[in-house]
Symmetry: D5
Amino acid sequence: MKYLVRMDVNLPPDMPREQAEKIKATEKAYSQGLQRDGKWVSIWRVVGEYANYSIFDVDGHDELHGILSGLPLFPYMDIQVIPLAKHPSDIH
Amino acid sequence: MKYLVRMDVNLPPDMPREQAEKIKATEKAYSQGLQRDGKWVSIWRVVGEYANYSIFDVDGHDELHGILSGLPLFPYMDIQVIPLAKHPSDIH
Amino acid sequence: MKYLVRMDVNLPPDMPREQAEKIKATEKAYSQGLQRDGKWVSIWRVVGEYANYSIFDVDGHDELHGILSGLPLFPYMDIQVIPLAKHPSDIH
Amino acid sequence: MKYLVRMDVNLPPDMPREQAEKIKATEKAYSQGLQRDGKWVSIWRVVGEYANYSIFDVDGHDELHGILSGLPLFPYMDIQVIPLAKHPSDIH
Amino acid sequence: MKYLVRMDVNLPPDMPREQAEKIKATEKAYSQGLQRDGKWVSIWRVVGEYANYSIFDVDGHDELHGILSGLPLFPYMDIQVIPLAKHPSDIH
Amino acid sequence: MKYLVRMDVNLPPDMPREQAEKIKATEKAYSQGLQRDGKWVSIWRVVGEYANYSIFDVDGHDELHGILSGLPLFPYMDIQVIPLAKHPSDIH
Amino acid sequence: MKYLVRMDVNLPPDMPREQAEKIKATEKAYSQGLQRDGKWVSIWRVVGEYANYSIFDVDGHDELHGILSGLPLFPYMDIQVIPLAKHPSDIH
Amino acid sequence: MKYLVRMDVNLPPDMPREQAEKIKATEKAYSQGLQRDGKWVSIWRVVGEYANYSIFDVDGHDELHGILSGLPLFPYMDIQVIPLAKHPSDIH
Amino acid sequence: MKYLVRMDVNLPPDMPREQAEKIKATEKAYSQGLQRDGKWVSIWRVVGEYANYSIFDVDGHDELHGILSGLPLFPYMDIQVIPLAKHPSDIH
Amino acid sequence: MKYLVRMDVNLPPDMPREQAEKIKATEKAYSQGLQRDGKWVSIWRVVGEYANYSIFDVDGHDELHGILSGLPLFPYMDIQVIPLAKHPSDIH
């Protein structure tokens, strides 16, 4: 099942650089693992913002919430989830 | 270049059914042609709404505006365009 | 899978009473059929508004969109869908 | 009397983990007690957010406010309350 | 039980004057009957707007929804309902 | 002259409890004095929120601003003021 | 007593020109009479919009509402009223 | 003096094509005359919307309002005006 | 040239009283100097808020921005600027 | 390819003046380098706000995001990006 997810990251500007770098590295590994598993289908940067739009393909709501709430950056994020259905004009 | 586009359709409820069906059929053909050309990469229905989220991959702003303003449903749509950049965690 | 859905109905005030009554009757039968099937779990009126909050329990996004877009009042509604996951404090 | 309640939790990211865990445990016990009493009828997690939608069934406004303002997480929450009436299509 | 209610009236400017006057007269009688019954406790005009703020004192949600949806101007109104609890500083 | 006022209180969660209790006690006495003077006509708690709706009956804008800006909680409040006129349907 | 008022005019584009001109002429005379009376102290056009900001100096809420609801363009306007108090830095 | 202006055009979908084409042609000539005069410095299409962002360089507010309110499409537009000052980093 | 300006002041509640008093005194002197120069034509308190609406009459955008960005309270303010043109109904 | 970009700067008021001055100086040099390269075509101050509107002319989304996320003030900014297409009335 597909979901469009927007994530906005709000790291406090006074967080020590080392701590920030460490969280971001963990986040990257976490994201790439899920991409390789085919759960996190796509991820794009919103131009000019510390934010992304992503497509997830998972079994359902509980699996998606588990993934999102497990993000290392989750405590610093605003997340918006939009469930996507098949579109009648889709040729795939 | 990638863009996320949200389209909300507002057909007047009193539009004659035949006219509405005709516009929708033309719209579908128009969309599927662009999907086959690889310009309109993805299209999903927003659950519960007469709306879609789509990914476009085009040469730039002018080409995208040409495509969108040429949509048969364009006069009845609210459209929002978000430019997408490559994300550093993207494995593709 | 559970979804919270809010539906706001906007019937044009100049719609002939008979036509309005007929749509509402069809809507009611449609809703009650789905309630009996266990798909439309709950429905409440928002106090003071021609609107409802409902809980749906369906197989997924496509089934829910099929149900909602099939509502007789769909062309006159604004609908908002919120996917619901299990809450860790839920005792059920 | 039924109410739909949305609660958004905003714990400061720099709250010591122990303190956060303790508040959450108290919150969980508080919620489950009210669920067992039949006051807090349903609770669902909003997918991707530290938030819930809940249904309460209480005697009235004063009882509900007492319950909500007594939540251990109340000082960290944004809460929205929507009074619900019986819907004419409800089969229950 | 107390509720604060805001009602915004949107009569179409091209409604025939006679029809508008008739609805307003029926509305006034309806409101004054409920005021005399002690259900509609207060009503004030919002300065500069075709709108009012009102206080209702009724048995609960169902009674309030019945009153509001029975307003002759209901099809032309946007209504917002806010449940009110006793305030600890209230001296009454 | 009547005014509807909404006050939202935002006390920082890390304010020492004693300090918070002291401000609230002063606030309560201040409010009750004005209620006894007939200036602060009504006060209700917004269900689920640290907020109130109040009715004031004062000589005019300057008096109301003096009262509101003198509230012990004023530095922690968002306040919204709505001037109220007599409604033609009011029976009082 | 002073009020800042914003008025946004929404004349339907298909109103016959003669009718529109007549309403505007009546509105102008109405406004200029109140300006000469010292009630309507100032009026400015919002650049680029069919809207104005005005300052009124009247006895109170009821007088202001009477003036505003008597505007020939009132049925086509959105109006917002902000009560103004004396500012401590004002030298006048 | 510089202003950033956003114009959103809302032509009713049922306006006869001929009438729409005529207004647009007049609008284009009007815009291009002002561009040649150096008053309307820049105009860009907002991608995916029937809207533009423009830069104007005029003597002041009155001249700008005269230009904008004289637009043939003015009755069908929402216009937003933002005054621009010289930026200290500007190298021009 | 006239501008309507709204200023909302957000002093942190934990700013030492002395520091706050000193900034406010400097602000007052700064404002009154500009009032005497005829640049800052009017200033009113928004009832119930730590905010003002003001009218400025200056040579243009650069002068206004210089004045506003020089306000002692500027780092603590949200400021909104609305350019005002002469209104055709204005009798002055 | 052209983009309209709005940047709002939110420096914490308690940032040491020296640190603030240093960031601003680096920001200025960074901006002026890009202006000389023809990438950052225009920059204007929004009157009354610590904000700017800018026009960028770059190869595409990735280049723009690289520029914006490299701004020394980026961690303190809210940025909004609007892609601009050629307007049919543009004479240039």
